[in-house]
């Protein structure tokens, strides 16, 4: 057992240590705070990359903290999907951090800057911890850190709308976290253990079925609010469109996916597909909500005027995609959902960062201000086009592969209505995405809207945008790197 077994824990705790030390550094030298935040995230990203080869597709790395025998201490369990999620989190938060180093001076006043970077580190560290734990209560603790830091990051801009959106988010988020705590209580009262693996064996043989069903429903409601599943999504459009762009990139690109991943872990690792009879009803309801989310999100995105609001609604629609993958209960469906998590994270982060650079350079937030934008900012517009093509799901991009497996999974599961919903969802996506590309490239600019010569946002803002959009293409073409092992991991989970 090499030293690599310590890596997952270090990946989680090093950014936390960074976050804790940052105020002290900020107290001494303000200027270094921005660059200093890069270090811990970079370290955990490197550790994650080193872990790639180690975890077999259908195996997992289990690590008891405090080296107690299993099920007494807390266990960190990183399986292939967990590592896949952790690497996405590291990658996108690093890029969002690089983007925000220049962007955030304009959005957040001086004294709050250190607090912003501390929260950024805490958010990404909590996401890593959230995906890696093998213990339910620990899941709740990390979810609480996630929630708190995302409420504050939405409100960090300090203007009227930001504070109101943050409070609305808090009013919906706090009760949902309490429901998760209640659900954990129910599970504990019936099974007597908190470790996920131990739980799944005990649930299989437990006789208190009503308690388990209601516990699962509370879990779905609790994490559903965080993942902005359809009926519980009201907070997302305001929060994501008003928050500063790197923050909304993190929220839309990662937080929503991580909560969806939590539902995957609860559904498959804790309740396990063996408990079909227990959670069957709720999973079908989840499917219907997901279908409604795809259509609702798509239609609302079409009628939006503000660019970030449109992208926020498209997040709601794409969360519906991911849940349709989960409720199919087939290996292809789950692999498609996970690949869509990757693709949607990359594409949505890229879209928000592009919107951020438009706001940074010209201060335009509405879509019809973007007419003829490619004359002045060709690189950003091109990256925006590539990312939105991946959102639609056109062949060379990762979106196509994930749409392929989502539909394949649903056909295998036999629910054709969801296949129809997925297809119409991608048509809706084509409508609202292409509308923006159409404005950018093929419409003449309003007079004086855009200068003729190219003056882009600074390279430190442009590089992350380009890496993200290139990522969607890379994972579209070289999908054979991930898909076979994702399928194996999904089969292992089922």
């Amino acid at each position: 057992m090499g030293a690599y077994r310590h890596f997952p824990v270090l990946m989680i705790t090093i950014p936390m240590l960074g976050a804790v030390l940052l105020p002290f550094l900020g107290y001494l030298r303000k200027r270094w705070v921005a660059t200093a935040t890069l270090l811990p995230l970079a370290v955990s990203a490197v550790l994650g990359l080193l872990l790639i080869g180690r975890i077999p597709a259908d195996g997992y790395l289990s690590y008891e903290l405090g080296s107690w025998t299993p099920h007494f201490g807390i266990e960190i369990r990183v399986d292939y999907l967990g590592l896949f999620m952790m690497l996405i989190v590291c990658g996108i938060s690093l890029l969002a951090l690089v983007f925000s180093m220049r962007y955030i001076e304009r959005e957040v006043e001086g004294p709050k800057l250190t607090a912003f970077y501390v929260l950024f580190l805490l958010l990404s560290a909590a996401m890593l911890g959230f995906t890696a734990t093998g213990d339910i209560f620990n899941l709740f603790v990390f979810m609480e850190i996630l929630a708190l830091s995302s409420y504050a990051l939405v409100a960090v801009a300090g203007n009227r709308n930001a504070v109101r959106a943050a409070f609305k988010y808090l009013l919906m988020g706090a009760p949902s976290s309490i429901m998760v705590l209640l659900a954990i209580g129910f599970l504990y009262s019936v099974t007597g253990s908190l470790n996920m693996a131990d739980l799944s064996t005990r649930i299989a043989e437990s006789s208190y079925s009503e308690v388990l069903i209601v516990a699962y429903i509370l879990f779905v409601i609790g994490f559903g609010v965080k993942a902005a599943l359809f009926p519980m999504h009201m907070w997302l459009p305001d929060a994501h469109s008003i928050a500063p762009s790197p923050v909304s990139a993190m929220l839309s690109g990662l937080l929503v996916e991580v909560s969806a991943f939590a539902i995957i872990r609860v559904t498959f690792s804790v309740f396990g597909s063996g408990a079909e009879n227990l959670i069957g009803g709720t999973v079908d309801a989840l499917g219907i909500f997901a279908a409604a989310a795809v259509l609702f999100g798509g239609i609302m995105a079409i009628i939006q005027k503000d660019l970030k609001m449109m992208i926020a609604y498209s997040t709601i629609s794409h969360i519906g995609y991911i849940f349709l993958g989960i409720t199919a209960f087939t290996a292809e469906g789950l692999a498609g959902a996970m690949y869509h998590v990757l693709d949607h994270g990359l594409a949505k982060a890229c879209l928000f960062l592009c919107a951020g650079s438009f706001i940074y350079v010209k201060g335009y937030r509405r879509i019809d201000d973007l007419k003829g934008a490619w004359r002045q900012m060709p690189w950003t517009c091109f990256a925006f086009a590539v990312a939105s093509i991946s959102v639609i799901g056109v062949p060379p991009t990762a979106g196509f592969i994930s749409k392929w497996y989502l539909i394949l999974g649903n056909i295998e599961a036999g629910n054709y209505f969801y296949v129809f919903v997925l297809l119409s969802g991608s048509i809706l996506a084509a409508v609202y995405c292409f509308r923006v590309i159409y404005y950018m490239f093929f419409q003449p600019p309003k007079e004086g809207a855009w200068e003729s010569r190219t003056n882009e946002a600074s390279p430190s803002m442009l590089a992350p945008i380009w890496i993200l959009s290139f990522g969607t293409l890379f994972f579209g073409v070289f999908s054979y790197l991930l898909i076979p092992s994702l399928l194996k991991a999904a089969a292992f989970l089922l």
Binding site: F137, V141, E144, A147, L148, Y151, A152, A155, G158, N159, R160, N161, V163, R164, A166, F167, L170, L171, A174, P175, S177, I178, L181, L182, G185, Y188, S189, L194, D238, K305, D306
Partner: protein
């Protein structure tokens, strides 16, 4: 029936519903936060009553206390963390309330949301 025997649980559920009702219905946001705290303490109360054993003793091994009659320590360990979480959520929410009052001058949710509707209309066209 077993329900009457677990009267602690009934108390917890009633408190939970009172808290949830306050969070949803009450118009003053500080009242909402009080409701939130009531919900949280209700869940904590549920956890602890889970761990109770008839005429058990506190889980402290001092002077030959007999382990088998001890109360279940795990829910209490979890709730210590839970209380800290509850305090931090309340602290965050209250600082948001202070800033909201500074920005909007009102604590009433309907006034806050009404401005939002106007602004949405004004931002609409």
């Amino acid at each position: 029936m077993r329900l009457l025997h677990n009267y602690h649980y009934i108390g917890a559920v009633i408190l939970f519903c009172i808290g949830l009702y306050t969070v949803i219905v009450r118009r003053n946001i500080i009242k909402k936060l009080i409701g939130l705290n009531i919900m949280e303490t209700a869940v904590f109360f549920f956890y602890i009553s889970l761990g109770y054993v008839d005429n058990g003793i506190a889980p402290i091994r001092v002077g030959g206390a007999d382990p088998s009659k001890m109360v279940n320590p795990i829910p209490q360990a979890l709730i210590l963390t839970g209380i800290v979480v509850a305090v931090s959520v309340t602290a965050l929410a209250l600082s948001l309330v202070i800033l909201l009052y500074r920005q909007f001058g009102t604590l009433d949710v309907d006034h806050l949301m009404r401005d939002e509707a106007e602004e949405a209309k004004e931002a609409g066209e």
